[in-house]
Symmetry: C2
């Protein structure tokens, strides 16, 4: 057997074990009884170690070198080999001691954070975060050495192959310059509009679930290869041939679960559309984290926040809830879901201000990784950034730098993917609409096939064959920039 | 680190991976969408291979030998070491080629059986079963060589440590001699009784589930460490600290789900009561398959088919179903659930005739493993055995030798554990009642604590510290025999 084929065998095995790991994670969030948490943590750790050993076995490096020398691979195999090496670099860059130290420090810090956030006690979690940052810097240096790029970019590469802070700076600086005046204008315009009448309610969970299932079906979700459940935090998890979406239901606000389900179904359609032939191999996975986010935001924000979508959704919701009145007119649902405000909390933010929340975090975490910002100065830097970017200052750290779990559980260089995803979504949706004029009229009729067909062909079926940059360029005719996204915001929030 | 401690580390890892495997199995039966089956099969296979490699690694044999030489172990450690060796022997006795050949043959045979049973087509599955039997014989010989006992006993040892067909023959022959006249008498007596009025119905699933949950809670099931779901075939799966029970619901017969839940909760209480300190080690698992079955049958048949239980359960069920009338009197529920008949199907059989179904299968499979019976002669031998043991002959193979999946999926030497379990249940329950006079009056009040306390102390908390024989002797003052079971049947079905 050739070296490449032996690698495929090993990654097939790994792919199956990753599938098992995913199921354990899914169950933890959806089904597991409370008292099972301790044992589950140990099962996850044991299985992760097995995967890590399989991937960092010295045999793998030899096979990678040999397969690269052998050559003779077709386009998919070559991309697969490239992705194999990338997984191997990220898994092998950190030595066993750093991994276990990092894992301990993250768990400890996250546990303190769970208490510190509601208690608004940044001082309590500061030592934990300092330790985490110290290890993140160490990991960044180790990966930087392997990849020959700066530490922040080396951390970013795990989520965004080939991504660079230079490119991100350009996109984000441009948007940060655009936002203040634009936001001012949107808010002024919004103030002149009539009030939106209340929806009524409460709206029982089983009706909300019925709507969610109907929407998923309409979008093209395949229930033979997936399901919908409930969890505290919504997510989508794709094991090959089995893609699981979760949401939660707020009896007072049925729009939340609707939009959450659109978002997670966007992720799910990507997973269900990945190339079957390569489902256990690295090249059969999603292209990058930002591309994954682009698929959820494309469905939720680009398609799902359009007036056309609400013309389809309004009668469906009215019928299932037995509701009526002005609040349930498509125009009013649209206006309700596209309200903009200077908010403190990222996860509640609208489409216009969300990027500013991300830009803040990106700038801070980059400075922390590079050594230009220390943990003790984080709250001050946070508040200063909020004032500058969004024009509000948090009254306390609870609604400031303590609000997101990411850093406290050791996740750095992940935040920018949210906004890269939003920009990619705008650019992809724009290209799709230009190529397929049926898309918007389809959405209005509840027919998502024209959109899904375009996404399947231009994004989903490509897996990780291309880099994110190449994929966007091929699909839209130009590299990713912030122009189409800004144009989209102007069209939605300032015209019509 | 001493060899014993290194073994504990390895088995801890294995225990965690077994927990992950269990979750994959549970999910397959309860949650998995249909189209996920193929990928799940591959995940299960990949994880099983990892476990098998960890257990059969040459290092393990060296460590076992060394730990046995080292000595210096306390009682639990020594028992753990004994169980480690047993797992290792059973895992390592078959070479990789035989395992994969066996796995292929079983899957192929089972798939044909799924069509052959409804089609009443034994000829179709005959070649598949012949191949499976050939490999079972080979496995029996391989294990026999390692253990120095006959092949059937060597296969049995995986489920019943130290079990032997000589002991089983004695118990089963005795019961087979007792049954014909006894059954005649029970049926004659039953015929003289008045008819049982119908329950009414249908009984909706959600009320049945409410009753099931109430019963589980009453029995002492800990919902912080477990849950109840629905599946086509009921089962109980214990991952450490997380024990999952399933049932199914028949809208026309609410007694089925009630009794199924009692049965599975008996298994679950055993799992929840196993010694926490040893939860990932072999000695922390159940003592044997028959002991596991004894716990389910003790709850379902010994306690749950008693007049006292129905005096507790009748008002609970009446209230939840909103039912009333003579059928819902405790006495009539008791009579309904203790009907006896000469049935063709094992899984529908009553407490009196069930052992005969098992004895038939035990005798046939033993003869098949030893070479005294060939697959081609199975249907004839089956019908002959049914006539002799139960007094009825199946009209076709569908309700004859095609009815159970066990052999067709390669499971031999498992059947006797059902009836060893029934006999153990009778003997344990009898001892418990003699030691704790409060047990029956507790059950009548819906207080299972006196029974559960006794089981915790005498069975659950011992894990696999003792052999099944030792455990029964210590708990009941005598080795397992069929006397107490026969006495129980006489008391329940011929007196009062």
């Amino acid at each position: 057997m050739r070296a490449y084929e032996r690698l495929e065998k090993r990654f097939e095995r790994l792919g199956n074990l990753y599938g098992a790991l995913s199921l354990l994670h899914w169950d933890t969030q959806t089904m597991m009884p409370r008292g099972g948490a301790g044992a589950r943590g140990e099962q996850l750790a044991a299985l992760s170690v097995v995967c890590h050993e399989l991937l960092t076995d010295p045999e793998v490096e030899k096979l990678l070198d040999e397969a690269e020398r052998e050559g003779g691979l077709n386009e998919w195999q070559a991309a697969n080999l490239r992705e194999m090496r990338r997984s191997w670099v990220h898994a092998g860059a950190l030595d066993a001691e750093l991994i276990s130290e990092f894992s301990r420090a993250r768990s400890a810090c996250e546990m303190v954070w769970r208490e510190a956030r509601p208690a608004n006690d940044f001082a309590a979690v500061r030592p934990g975060l300092e330790r985490v940052l110290e290890l993140v810097r160490e990991a960044g240096r180790a990966k930087a050495e392997k990849l020959g790029i700066p530490p922040y970019d080396a951390l970013l590469d795990e989520y965004e192959p080939g991504g660079s802070s230079e490119k991100i700076d350009r996109l984000f600086d441009d948007f940060a310059a655009f936002l203040p005046d634009f936001l001012e204008e949107v808010l002024a315009r919004q103030e002149r509009e009539p009030e939106i009448p209340p929806l009524g309610g409460p709206f029982d969970e089983s009706s909300q679930r019925q709507i969610a299932l109907k929407m998923m079906e309409t979008l093209g979700f395949d229930f033979d290869h997936g399901r919908l459940d409930t969890s505290l935090h919504a997510f989508c998890m794709g094991m090959p041939q089995d893609v699981r979406v979760t949401t939660r239901y707020d009896e007072n606000d049925p729009m939340k679960s609707l939009l959450t389900v659109l978002h997670e179904t966007g992720h799910a359609l990507y997973e269900q559309g990945l190339p079957r032939r390569w489902r256990l191999q690295p090249v059969g996975q999603s292209c990058s984290t930002s591309l994954h986010e682009s698929q959820s935001l494309l469905v939720e924000k680009q398609a799902g926040h359009s007036p056309e979508f609400f013309r389809f959704a309004a009668p469906v919701m009215r019928e299932i809830f037995g509701s009526s009145g002005a609040a349930w007119e498509p125009e009013n649902l649209y206006r309700r879901c596209t309200r903009v405000e200077r908010s403190l909390i990222r996860i509640d933010a609208d489409e216009v201000t969300y990027p500013a929340h991300v830009i803040l975090r990106y700038r801070l975490e980059k400075a922390m990784v590079e050594g230009g910002l220390e943990v003790k100065d984080l709250p001050g830097a946070w508040n200063e950034g909020m004032r500058e970017l969004i024009g509000v200052v948090p009254p306390d750290d609870r609604d400031g730098c303590l609000q997101d779990i990411h850093w406290y559980e050791g996740l750095f260089a992940y935040f920018p993917t949210y906004t890269l995803g939003a920009m990619s979504a705008a650019q992809l949706f724009d290209a799709a609409r230009r190529e397929e004029p049926e898309i918007m009229s389809g959405i209005e009729r509840g027919d998502f096939a024209p959109l899904l067909d375009w996404l399947r062909k231009n994004v989903h079926e490509k897996g990780a064959l291309r880099s994110p940059d190449e994929l966007i360029s091929e699909a839209t005719g130009r590299p990713l920039d912030s122009e189409v996204f800004k144009r989209h915001l102007k069209a939605r929030y300032l015209s019509g």
